[in-house]
């Protein structure tokens, strides 16, 4: 019998041994409780996010959490019937053109997925036109742009401008994140919001998703 609370806490505490033991147990029992186990893991990831916000956890812990979550998905996926939570709808995230950093993006995507978003990951070094086209194709109204280098600000601005040129800006919410972003950078870029951590990103995107529903 799956101990949901124990799994959730173990994930929150990044106790890899316990998490893997419970998940392997779920699969050894036939996988009937895989969906519940995945939800518990996602809840645990939210605990990780809260601890990050309280500065108890740092980026390295988020990276480890992402690794642990990846293992959890690998173990449980044969028994999962749905592709994961998407209660808040679909959004796009990527690292902007000329920036090849992906660690921050991957952390935020894992946390967004855990909070209920279906995230289309367009990868790194993504040019503005591709983001606009993917947004159109998938009818996505929330875009998260990540970057580490100072030049990412220019690429973020070019992306916002591309949405304007495509006539989609008014119906699209754009958040920028990463080391070089700030309130001033957000204003310069013309984005709707900015964040330095996953929890702010989740909070802002969740508010937008609620407004759009």
């Amino acid at each position: 019998m799956l101990d949901i609370e124990k799994l959730k806490q173990a994930m929150g505490e990044l106790d890899e041994d316990t998490v893997l033991e419970i998940l392997n147990g779920v699969m050894a029992d036939g996988g009937a409780e895989a969906e519940k186990a995945m939800e518990a893991c996602q809840d645990g990831l939210n605990i990780v996010g809260d601890l990050f916000e309280k500065s108890e956890y740092f980026v390295g812990d988020l990276i480890f959490a992402g690794e642990l979550m990846t293992q959890a998905v690998e173990i449980l996926s044969p028994a999962l019937t749905s592709g994961g939570g998407s209660a808040k709808g679909r959004m796009i995230m990527c690292t902007v053109k000329d920036d090849l950093h992906d660690i921050g993006k991957n952390i935020v995507i894992a946390m967004l997925q855990a909070s209920g978003f279906e995230v289309i990951d367009l990868g790194i070094d993504v040019d503005p036109q591709t983001i606009v086209e993917e947004a159109k194709k998938n009818d996505v109204k929330i875009i998260a742009l990540s970057g580490v280098l100072t030049l990412a600000i220019d690429s973020m601005k070019a992306t916002v401008d591309a949405f304007k040129e495509a006539g989609l800006r008014d119906q699209t919410k754009i958040i920028i994140g990463g080391a070089p972003v700030s309130a001033e950078a957000c204003e310069h870029v013309g984005a709707d919001a900015w964040a330095h951590n996953p929890q702010d990103t989740i909070r802002i995107c969740s508010e937008w998703a609620a407004q759009m529903q």
């Binding site: 108890e56 000329d98 600000i153 070089p180």
Partner: protein, 388 residues
């Protein structure tokens, strides 16, 4: 003033500011890295692969703007050494004018014990293969190795030559004393051996292996430097702006326990020796420097010059009145602001933070990309700083 006198005058500006003695004027340091290549009209790959071009770039940078010290004079041209063996840690995109650093692990988590047993053996037997494809597939020849060694010689010759030129012809003091460059063992693990992802896993999983590897790496590469420092005479090298330089990177991913266990003890040892020797260290802190603040409060004035990348320098002054500040000019302002805004910022910094010493102006981040700074803004700030 002769060039020698001017060089000494400039070094003294930094020394006075570091020691909270009111300097003749607030000194101004260049933290422009690859930006100056693009500013001089060259492609990144051209200058980073040609020492003559790089020399022209550095000369032009000083002729055009006129700083009191230039922190970076072509160190990235060291890419030619690994390139001789078919590898490079940077992606250079000339079309976009960008350089990206590759985060690559040369050691796996389950190899940390092996690394700890014999660091040198591990590097030669496994690390080299991970870093250099021709080492891995066995096609490397003695000629390739000799070529890499020759490139290293050329690089060292260039660094010696450009330092001499900037010192003798342009009267610029070196920013750190000879052999005054340190590194914390954990940053070496982070930057060179395990990468961001790898180290994040190591600090959570079988941590004993990381501790052993860290101690071994420290003993092999960093302890000799500390021992040498302990034997150095007491007192600063007044020919240089600072005595020692520590660039801190991996604190950005550490939680408090990890910081206390893996980073601070190693860093403290270096700071304590420098304090005993009455030397000055520049600490460049990537990301936020806040987590260091409590740890640095009790050190004497004159020891630490903090170069923060992200934090409000006015807040740092309030929290750490014992620490001199190098920085304060946001790259975002140099890139998007007006000349007047940039000069206004420089003026406010000098008046509020520099009136009794304790402040030196430089850019908050490494200025790397074309749009990081408008040349007219840089020129205006340099002119203002010289006019003080």
């Amino acid at each position: 003033m002769t060039n020698q006198e001017l060089r000494q005058y400039r070094a003294k500006l930094f020394r006075d500011a570091s020691n909270f003695v009111k300097p003749d004027r607030v000194p101004h340091m260049s933290f422009f890295v690859t930006w100056k290549i693009l500013d001089a009209g060259y492609k990144l790959s051209e200058a980073m692969n040609d020492y003559d071009i790089m020399e022209k770039v550095v000369r032009r940078h000083q002729e055009e703007y006129g700083f009191d010290c230039i922190l970076e004079m072509g160190a990235r041209n060291a890419i030619r050494i690994p390139m001789a063996l078919g590898a490079c840690s940077y992606y250079i995109n000339d079309e976009a004018g960008t350089v990206n650093f590759k985060d690559k692990a040369i050691c796996e988590h389950d190899e940390l014990t092996e690394l700890a047993q014999d660091v040198k053996k591990f590097f030669w037997e496994k690390g080299m293969s991970r870093k250099y494809p021709m080492w891995a597939d066995g096609t490397v020849t003695l000629t390739d190795v000799q070529k890499a060694l020759d490139e290293r010689t050329l690089f060292m010759e260039y660094m010696g030559r450009i330092s001499k030129i900037m010192s003798e012809e342009y009267a610029l003091p070196p920013y750190a004393a000879p052999k005054g460059y340190g590194y914390i063992a954990l940053d070496f693990m982070f930057n060179t051996i395990r990468g961001i992802r790898g180290l994040s896993i190591d600090m959570r999983k079988d941590t004993g292996a990381l501790e052993a590897a860290l101690d071994a790496v420290n003993a092999r590469y960093f302890r000799p430097g500390i021992e040498m420092l302990k034997k150095a005479p007491v007192g600063p090298d007044l020919n240089a702006c600072f005595d020692y330089d520590l660039t801190l990177l991996c604190h950005t991913i550490l939680n408090q326990k990890q910081f206390d266990k893996y980073l601070w003890p190693y860093m403290k040892e270096t700071l304590d020796v420098l304090a005993e020797k009455k030397m000055t260290v520049r600490l460049f802190m990537e990301g936020s420097s806040k987590r260091f603040w409590d740890y640095l409060k009790d050190y004497p004035k004159g020891l630490i010059v903090m170069h923060p990348e992200q934090d409000d320098v006015f807040e740092i002054r309030k929290e750490l009145p014992n620490v001199a500040i190098l920085g304060g000019m946001p790259v975002s302002l140099l890139g998007t602001g007006t000349k007047e805004q940039c000069v206004e910022r420089a003026k406010a910094l000098c008046e509020e933070l520099g009136k009794d010493g304790g402040f030196m102006l430089t850019q908050d981040k490494m200025v790397s990309f074309r749009n990081d700074a408008k040349p007219e803004n840089v020129k205006a700030v340099c002119e203002y700083m010289r006019s003080l």
